[in-house]
């Protein structure tokens, strides 16, 4: 049975499901309800099928490769390669897409009558199919097609809520950035083509020895920029915090959960699979990029009060953590330490899986909140734990997972990442030890700040009292939205508890890459579900889970039977000094984050806007209200993108002077061109 799924026919069925979903929802464009059910049910079915395909390819003894159709272009072949790495990413994409689609059935209902659901469903199906194609393409040109389809489809999804001018701007920024990234990728593939004479990955791989080091390095830099733009490495991340809030929440969940991971996938594919062996500095660059992205990402998240932007910045942070694993893998490989490299790669793959689950959960939870309260501003939320207890619990689960608290899955992948970094400190010499020290330090720091950030986010959104009228009238989301979120929360816990087995599977996945061939190194053992990092240290998730349960139980009983033995607990209202409690008494998320931001003001360049409104305009003795706005100046815009834009504009105006409107000048141009060409030819 698995052979059928992981075959060309199985894959065609997969694509057909999405194609039918896309075409059908366009047909039903007139009827929102039909379009909704049609598109999302087919997306569900497709994702489910995709999971089977992925599992089929994972258990297949050999990579599944096939070619579909033909094209008028000789270099373009619709060839697919489902090796275990691709299958793993297919699985992650399908898994998240499945739950997001379930969630979407109820979520998109609030767009009824406002925007066409048909187009949403159309691009949604195309988008998922595009991601699946990206992960399975085995031809550079075909990959580029899939990549662009994915990007353009997601662009249309981002601007779906098109009445908001801000969303249009976000979409514009997103497409510009992603297109610039694609330009770099195209350049990289063209260089590879120039050296190997083919766009086929297999040909590039086998011709890898012929590529000169200079070209290799150029390809590395180009594709790091290209894929890094999609993944959201700082400073290429600017589109991410803009596009994620603009998109509908299930799209944000997919974009943040899996789409940015396609950048990681391609980095693994190109660096590890196609270009190996490589020089040492590649890994070091990746480690630095990871450390910077992780730390800055979480800092920016802390300063954010838009809940979806906050989550978007956390995606940047987690991409940084994934890159730390990947970077250490590359470094170890070039230092001839393949077993350690395997550890690093497993860590990054595991974190990819984990981040996909909890980040999509968080986005879906945030979507449920926004759907009820119609605001993304955390300063206007609050107290929702009483109104939406299930959502609060789900969001808490996601928060704990992303903050790397055991027994949730985030802890174990970060633990693995730490292990590989510590191994780097222990096993390498002075050439690279500094970067591992920096990376480990930044990862530790990141973990702490992430926790602070989610204390802030959860507290501001769910605890205390509602800060706006809308937040007071929130209700628990409807069935399908919850049905999409609960399994993700369960998976976050499950992947934590059985992380030993998951790590073992991932070791198999990573081990099939050609660079690891010939190293029989069962490095990570999963006896009784224990993850062990080569005798250096180990952690046993089920034991951790049990210990936590026991500790929780022990603390509870100790307090009940030792300290509170004689005391009786009574519940009364909060003492309010006679005044009624108002939301204005609560700490704001800005206030919560302020102290941490001010510590890092050297990096973050916060801007503070204070304004006082007085009752008495002339003397200004009696203030009526005070307002403090804490903002983070966008140094990437002011230092990188704005100057580039200005430069382009200057050149443009310069070039436009050519079109002066004077016909004499025009004739002169012709003459000049003639003389120039004649001079050149003689």
């Amino acid at each position: 049975m698995t052979e059928f799924f992981a075959s060309s026919r199985g894959f065609v069925v997969l694509l057909l499901l999405f194609a039918i979903g896309a075409a059908g929802s366009l047909l039903f464009n007139k009827n929102d309800r039909q379009a909704n059910y049609w598109s999302n049910l087919f997306a569900c079915a497709g994702s489910l099928w995709g999971m089977f395909v992925a599992i089929g390819a994972l258990v297949a003894p050999e990579p599944v490769a096939f070619t579909l159709g033909f094209s008028p272009f000789s270099l373009l072949r619709f060839s697919f390669l489902l090796d275990r790495l691709a299958a793993f990413f297919l699985f992650v994409i399908s898994l998240i897409a499945f739950f997001c689609s379930i969630y979407a059935i109820d979520y998109v209902k609030h767009y009824y009558g406002k925007y066409g659901i048909g187009t949403l469903g159309f691009f949604y199906n195309i988008f998922i199919a595009g991601m699946l194609l990206v992960a399975s393409a085995a031809n550079g040109l075909f990959f580029l097609v899939a990549w662009e389809i994915m990007s353009v489809a997601s662009f249309f999804l981002v601007i779906h809520d098109r009445d908001e001018q801000e969303n249009i701007r976000a979409g514009l920024l997103y497409l510009i950035m992603t297109h610039l990234g694609t330009a770099f990728i195209i350049a990289a593939f063209l260089l590879l083509y120039r050296s190997t004479g083919s766009f086929d990955f297999s040909a590039i791989q086998s011709g890898g020895a012929a590529i000169s080091p200079v070209v290799k390095n150029a390809v590395f830099v180009l594709s790091l920029i290209g894929f890094g733009t999609k993944a959201g490495i700082i400073p290429l991340h600017v589109w991410l915090p803009a596009a994620h809030p603009a998109a509908p929440s299930h799209i944000s969940g997919l974009m943040s959960g899996v789409m940015i991971k396609t950048g990681i996938y391609m980095m693994i594919r190109v660096f590890l699979d196609l270009l190996a062996p490589f020089p040492l500095w590649w890994g070091v660059v990746l480690l630095i990029a990871g450390a910077v992205s992780a730390l800055l990402g979480v800092l920016y998240a802390l300063a954010e009060h838009d809940i979806k932007k906050l989550l978007a910045y956390h995606s940047i942070e987690n991409i940084g953590i994934i890159l730390l694993g990947l970077g250490s893998a590359l470094t170890f490989l070039s230092l001839q330490l393949p077993t350690l490299a395997l550890l690093g790669l497993v860590a990054s793959l595991f974190h990819t899986l984990n981040h996909a689950t909890f980040k999509s959960l968080l986005f879906l939870g945030a979507g449920a909140v926004i759907n009820q309260t119609h605001t993304r501003n955390m300063e206007e939320l609050g107290g929702l734990i009483r109104l939406m207890p299930q959502t609060a619990l789900l969001f808490l689960t996601g928060s704990m997972a992303i903050s790397a608290l055991p027994p949730f899955n985030g802890f174990f992948s970060e633990w693995l990442t730490f292990q590989s970094l510590f191994q780097g400190i222990a096993a390498t010499d002075s050439r690279t030890i500094w970067v591992f020290v920096i990376a480990a330090g930044s990862l530790a720091f990141t973990g702490g700040l992430a926790l602070a950030c989610f204390v802030k986010a959860f507290g501001a959104v769910f605890l205390a009292r509602p800060r706006s009228n809308e937040a007071q009238h929130a209700r628990e989301p409807s069935f399908f939205m919850l049905a999409g979120m609960w399994p993700l929360a369960a998976l976050s816990l499950l992947f934590g508890i059985v992380s030993g087995y998951v790590a073992n599977i991932l070791q198999d996945v990573a081990g099939t890459l050609s660079v690891f061939q010939g190293f029989p190194s069962p490095f990570l053992l999963a006896e009784t579900g224990r993850i062990s990092a080569g005798g250096f240290s180990f952690v046993s998730p089920p034991v951790v889970f049990l210990l936590l349960l026991i500790a929780l139980f022990a603390v509870f009983t100790a307090f009940n039977f030792l300290f509170f033995k004689k005391q009786k607990t009574t519940f009364g209202p909060t003492w309010d000094c006679g005044a009624d409690l108002t939301p204005r008494m609560e700490i704001t998320s800005t206030g919560f984050a302020r102290s941490i931001i001010l510590i890092f003001k050297g990096i973050m360049k916060p801007t503070m806007l204070k304004s006082v409104e007085c009752r008495d305009g002339e003397t200004r003795y009696l203030p009526k209200s005070r307002e403090i706005r804490l903002g983070i100046s966008n140094i990437y815009d002011t230092c990188l993108y704005k100057p580039a834009q200005d430069l382009a504009l200057r050149f443009s105006l310069y070039a436009r002077k050519m079109q002066s409107g004077l016909i004499n000048m025009y004739i002169l141009y012709i003459l000049a061109a003639l003389l120039g060409a004649l001079y050149f030819s003689l």
Partner: protein, 178 residues
């Protein structure tokens, strides 16, 4: 509630009567030391009092404030006036309980953790004093919340309050022995 009722029944007259002239003669430091002893024993060295102004004419407040001045300085005996009923062992309610303040008094009482003692301070708080019968007052603190002890006087002098406090503490000590 039943416990409180039983308590009020068990103490038929909460009024702490003291001989003013006898009180005039005593040395504050002696009274204070005795108070300190009791506070140490009963309250582990610190008696926290929350004063509630339930529509008082501020006479009683003046005297209570005087307790904290350098002359009397009750803090040295372990008696503190605190800012929140959540921290208080004892409530001192003054005034005839104006209608607007009744709810505040009730809430303060509810917010004070058990075990707690309520002292009505001054004649207004005991029976309304000169305001008795007015449409605007409830006449007495005990009409609004259960009162454990009463300190008479219009207003009682700081010295009288100290003496009465000593007596209250003695009573509490005696009750707790029972």
């Amino acid at each position: 509630m039943i416990r409180l009722l039983r308590k009020t029944v068990a103490t038929p007259s909460p009024l702490i009567s003291i001989d003013p002239s006898a009180c005039e003669r005593v040395d504050i430091s002696v009274v204070g030391r005795e108070i300190e002893d009791h506070v140490k024993r009963l309250f582990r060295g610190s008696l926290a009092i929350r004063q509630v102004d339930a529509g008082s004419d501020n006479a009683a407040e003046q005297e209570l404030v005087a307790l904290s001045n350098p002359f009397y300085d009750v803090e040295r005996f372990g008696v503190h006036f605190v800012a929140s009923p959540r921290h208080a062992d004892m409530l001192m309610a003054t005034g005839p309980v104006a209608r607007n303040m009744a709810e505040a008094l009730r809430r303060t009482y509810a917010a004070t953790p058990d075990p707690k003692f309520v002292v009505a301070l001054g004649d207004d708080a005991i029976d309304g004093g000169i305001f008795r019968g007015s449409y605007a007052v409830y006449d007495a603190v005990k009409n609004v919340i259960p009162v454990d002890y009463e300190i008479a006087g219009d207003p009682p002098s700081p010295r009288a309050i100290l003496c009465a406090l000593l007596k209250i503490l003695e009573t509490i000590g005696a009750n707790s022995l029972n």
